[in-house]
Symmetry: C2
Subunit: 340 residues, 2 copies
């Protein structure tokens, strides 16, 4: 997929799926909730159960790590260290991605190895670089032993038969509520011209004109969302770096990770990564799949070099950063749950 | 201080401070808030600022650990692993104590080395086994660089001059809201005879008759609280183990830690530890200063052996555990803050 192929592909897909071109705007305000799969509809009880599990260290191998440990909801729903060891010390080479607006993804993990949010959660529970639980059976028997959880699963799902499937569904239901609406950029998109600064508008214009928007477009500034153009499980990937062997690539060693190739084994997938959201980007440092860059302006400079083979002027970099700062949304109120 | 000295000392202190004996009840419902020092009164803005700091990883050396990381407010406000390394890997030999009702302490840390909550927080920020910040100056300059924090400190304290003193005061104000009222034991103390089971009542009776209540009495089941009998900074300590060289001591190596002696260097302080609260004890495993025991019934058995030189029957152990389970309170609603 070429760099500028994203937008072209999208438009083709829109035509193919019968969406009138007239209705298509490449940037749109974030909806109040992401698409929800038919076999995991939302309910207040399910969301609350998922929130409890999100804060419950018993989901981890050692019994001490929670989802919140690495996806801190008080900040970027991510980990400021970027690449961090798993619960039992399992090593990782990948940056912890944000969970804000994660329900708008079509695939999960940097390499798209999980094709639904539920599958991504189930995989996290066992992954050595994440929660490192010993096995699904061990997890289930831990939670089976807690009367209050059994009662809550029965209330939510009509069964006391706790399973990793139901655990993952509950957590997914909670994560789908992590939507940050009403950024100043969204206000601007809705017609409030004064919502963002002149500099941010200039940055947005350069962002689209220079090519950034070829991948970072639509409601989540991460390409297609499920149900429109792309279906859940159909990943929107891009080469990163698109131009390897640049000074930035040498410095930050991006090409050391072959991305989706690790999943598919297909040569054409080498260096393909899921396009990440830019929403709340000011809060989600460090950046890139390996968390190698902490400064947002440097991250923009690197993207111009590695993806567009361009050198942005300092003023252009500052303008784009001003635009990116308009993508910080309003955070929903989340009461810390009381875990059984 | 002998084991049964606690209650005797308290009564003497009550007389000395002019509290009429008639007013003294060794067990009382938890007040809705703990005493507050005159130089750090509560305000909604200060509490909110403290909550943000509690969830902010920038308080730690690596920029990745938060207070919440080890004091998980979704569970026992403690860490289920007990003894855990500090932010930069600094080792510890001490269990993470609960923060629920921490404002009722008269001294802080297991050895009482901090004589106020504010001092305890300031010490935690620099301690290698906790937040491991490089220095007060480095911390302050980090927060000075964040416009939104400067504005919030100005709103709360009337000054933009951020300091570790003001950071500690804010967090202390938040921690003083972590009060878990209205346990079934509190309901029982208020006259609701049906609030706790017959077994729990039997356990409570044995708890007082056997000697546990010599130390674990009053509103927080941890001895004197600030302002009544004891003043802030005046610790209520006990020998642990009171009877060393028991099988339990050999097994769990309690005596390896000389407690308050590490702070004072005084021989008489060897093995003295601050008496911890029993409120929410069912949620705060593992137990003891070294976190060596995970099971509550075993913890009670050990206490009988090491502190009272008694062997409780299995029925007595079960009864006391039933009583301890009545000490779990209601948890206040805490909305996850949005960190600047």
């Amino acid at each position: 997929m070429s760099l500028t192929g994203g937008l072209r592909l999208l438009i083709l897909a829109l035509v193919a799926t019968g969406v009138a071109n007239a209705q298509f705007a490449p940037f749109q305000p974030l909806p109040h909730m992401p698409p929800v799969p038919e076999d995991n509809l939302q309910s207040p009880g399910k969301i609350e159960l998922g929130k409890k599990l999100f804060f419950d260290p018993r989901l981890s191998g050692s019994g001490s790590t929670t989802c919140q440990t690495c996806h801190n909801l008080a900040t970027g729903a991510t980990h400021r260290k970027g690449v961090v060891p798993g619960d039992l010390g399992g090593t990782s080479t990948r940056d912890v991605p944000t969970l804000w607006n994660v329900g708008f993804n079509t695939v999960y993990f940097w390499d798209g190895r999980a094709i639904s949010l539920e599958a991504a959660i189930a995989a996290h529970l066992l992954a050595k670089e994440a929660m490192a639980a010993p096995s699904n059976e061990a997890l289930v028997s831990r939670f089976d032993a807690i009367d209050a959880y059994r009662a809550e699963f029965r209330r939510v799902f009509g069964t006391e038969s706790i399973s990793v499937d139901l655990i993952s569904k509950s957590i997914a239901a909670f994560l789908r509520t992590l939507v940050t609406q009403d950024s100043t950029f969204d206000q601007y998109l809705r017609g409030d011209e004064a919502a963002i600064s002149v500099q941010a508008k200039r940055g947005f214009e350069w962002f689209t004109d220079s090519g950034c928007a070829s991948c970072h477009f639509w409601v989540n500034l991460a390409g297609p969302v499920p149900g429109l153009a792309f279906q859940m499980g159909e990943g929107f990937y891009e080469l990163f770096p698109n131009y390897p062997d640049t000074p930035a690539d040498s410095k930050y060693k991006f090409s050391d990770d072959l991305g989706r190739y690790h999943v598919s084994g297909i040569d054409a997938d080498k260096r393909l990564f899921r396009v990440p959201t830019l929403r709340n980007i000011a809060l989600t440092a460090p950046y890139f799949h390996n968390g190698a860059v902490s400064d947002l302006k440097e991250a923009v400079r690197v993207m111009a070099e590695t993806q567009l083979q361009k050198t942005f002027t300092d003023a252009q970099l500052e303008d784009v950063v001003a635009f990116l700062n308009t993508l910080t949304g309003e955070f929903p109120v989340i009461a810390v749950p009381y875990v059984h």
